[in-house]
């Protein structure tokens, strides 16, 4: 019980440390308004090109994509913020289980990603006048939480790279752009070359976007169990890989003496 309390206490503290020093308007601009303008931009684009066909699905899919701000850029800070503040060596030298520690730090980003995505959906509904069936909200919540969990797993693998390299902005932007491209949020996966759509299956959010479109546009939940099981499995694999990568990165950082590199 005490370990669970410690887990959540650490999750809350690390999140507060990340944003507590910022002005509230900085949080609103970066974590809320910036993703919302992205969602409005893409929704306007697809509304123009597809003349309103399937707009509900595109609005909801773009709302889900807003979680990238948390799952990629937020997760990157899980390791990088300590390096920036010069506390990474202390954290890594502490006797605590690093896998549990970094997973605890991921939890607020999963919750924050879901919050931003749902806020995006609310704004999308209000701005574009689309209607989302009430009965689809619960499946959507489930799909989005699993998809964001999976995306955060990949984000943590990326975050572990900050043990080795100071070029995290380069890597995080490549991953964020790749998720936008491969998720199919703004087009059908069938327009991609087959090798690209095959590659997309190994990335998070692709299945979440596919299910979101199916549920919001057609009320079709027939693929729900299969796709969400795959997405959950993908997320668990990502987190498992991230723990291994963090351990290896920690070893390399000790050997090469790059842990304090900024």
């Amino acid at each position: 019980m005490e370990s669970m309390k410690r887990f959540f206490r650490h999750a809350v503290l690390s999140y507060k440390a990340l944003f507590g020093m910022l002005d509230p308007k900085a949080y609103i601009l970066v974590m809320l308004l910036n993703p919302l303008t992205q969602m409005i931009f893409f929704a306007m684009l697809v509304n123009y090109v597809y003349e309103g066909v399937g707009l509900e699905g595109y609005v909801a899919s773009n709302a889900l994509l807003l979680c990238v701000m948390s799952s990629v850029f937020g997760m990157m800070t899980v390791v990088m913020s300590d390096r920036g503040m010069g506390t990474l060596q202390i954290v890594m030298a502490s006797p605590v289980n690093k896998g549990v520690l970094f997973f605890a730090r991921s939890v607020p980003h999963i919750v924050n990603g879901a919050f931003t995505a749902f806020l995006g959906l609310v704004f999308g509904v209000l701005i574009f006048g689309v209607s989302i069936p009430v009965e689809s909200l619960l499946p959507l919540l489930c799909i989005w939480m699993i998809s964001i969990f999976s995306a955060c797993g990949l984000g943590l693998i990326l975050g572990s790279c900050s043990f080795w390299t100071p070029s995290m902005h380069l890597l995080s932007n490549i991953l964020a752009s790749a998720l936008l491209l491969l998720s199919g949020a703004n087009y059908s996966l069938s327009v991609m070359p087959s090798w690209l759509s095959d590659l997309a299956k190994f990335f998070p959010l692709t299945r979440g976007v596919e299910l979101t479109k199916a549920i919001v546009n057609e009320g079709d939940t027939s693929q729900f169990v299969r796709l969400m099981s795959e997405e959950l499995l993908l997320g668990c694999i990502y987190f498992a890989i991230s723990i291994v990568v963090i351990r290896y990165a920690e070893y390399l950082a000790r050997v090469k003496g790059t842990m304090e590199m900024s």
């Binding site: 970066v30 910036n34 684009l45 090109v49 902005h169 380069l170 703004n186 327009v191």
Partner: protein, 261 residues
């Protein structure tokens, strides 16, 4: 004057070397154009060749150009502040305006390189057909666009000089400009209350000029009108830049907080 101009041209070269050494800027110049172009092509894939050229080729190219400005010209002031060198270049015998303008032109050249990469990628990977246009006309149009975008970036850089939230603003202004200036769709589909804002922003008219110049159906009158509109709005921004520069200079000296990060 000669010293200022020398500093201006030297700054362009130094800035181009410094900017491209940053990993984030490397992403913006070498990688992001491919993402923008591919995503836009997938969205517009089934549309007419004319629409694809105007919105995929020009639009995604302009997205790359704008992103390069956002993550360079607009943020260079903040970077100098972070390095602790902002006060030095502000008080140097060479005019601060020439230094900033040199930085902006250097970054804008990189932005056009990223735009060119996007054009080549779409031409050779997706086999898109490009219209044949008068080289002198397109060259002149690009020159006017470079000047207009540079002046706009200068005004933004001045605003960011005084703001302590420059990095936050830098991250925020990317998509709103994509949206409001109609890079990927006509501004007529925007809500009517938003269209006057589009009309006062130079990027709107810069991309419009390139669309008019590359449209074989455009008349001479339409081309002249598009050039004059962009020159006119650029002149207005030059006046704003002069006034704002004086105001920023006074405020920075009076407050004495230029280097406060």
């Amino acid at each position: 004057m000669r010293g200022n101009l020398q500093a201006f041209f030297k700054t362009i070269i130094v800035q181009m070397k410094l900017s491209i050494a940053r990993p984030m800027f490397q992403f913006v110049i070498w990688i992001s154009p491919f993402f923008y172009a591919t995503i836009t092509y997938f969205v517009y894939g089934g549309q007419s060749p004319e629409k694809i050229f105007h919105y995929v080729v020009l639009g995604s190219g302009f997205m790359g150009l704008w992103t390069s400005i956002v993550y360079s010209s607009a943020s260079d002031i903040n970077r100098e502040r972070f390095y602790g060198t902002l006060e030095n270049i502000f008080d140097a015998p060479v005019s601060f305006a020439y230094i900033i303008m040199g930085k902006i032109v250097g970054n804008t050249i990189w932005g056009f390189i990223s735009m060119l990469l996007s054009f080549l990628y779409l031409r050779f990977v997706f086999n898109l057909e490009y219209p044949i246009v008068n080289p002198l006309l397109i060259g002149s149009a690009f020159l006017v666009v470079v000047i207009a975008i540079s002046v706009f970036a200068f005004v933004m850089a001045l605003v960011f000089t005084l703001s302590k939230q420059a990095e936050v603003l830098m991250n925020f202004i990317e998509y709103p400009i994509f949206l409001i200036c109609g890079f990927l769709f006509p501004i007529t589909i925007l809500p009517t209350w938003l269209q006057p804002i589009s009309a006062i922003l130079p990027p709107t008219w810069a991309i419009e000029l390139l669309r008019v110049v590359t449209n074989n159906a455009s008349t001479s009158a339409q081309i002249v009108q598009a050039i004059l509109v962009l020159i006119g709005i650029t002149v207005i921004y030059v006046v704003i830049a002069f006034v704002a520069y004086g105001a920023v200079d006074r405020k920075a000296r009076m407050d004495g907080k230029l280097g406060v990060y």
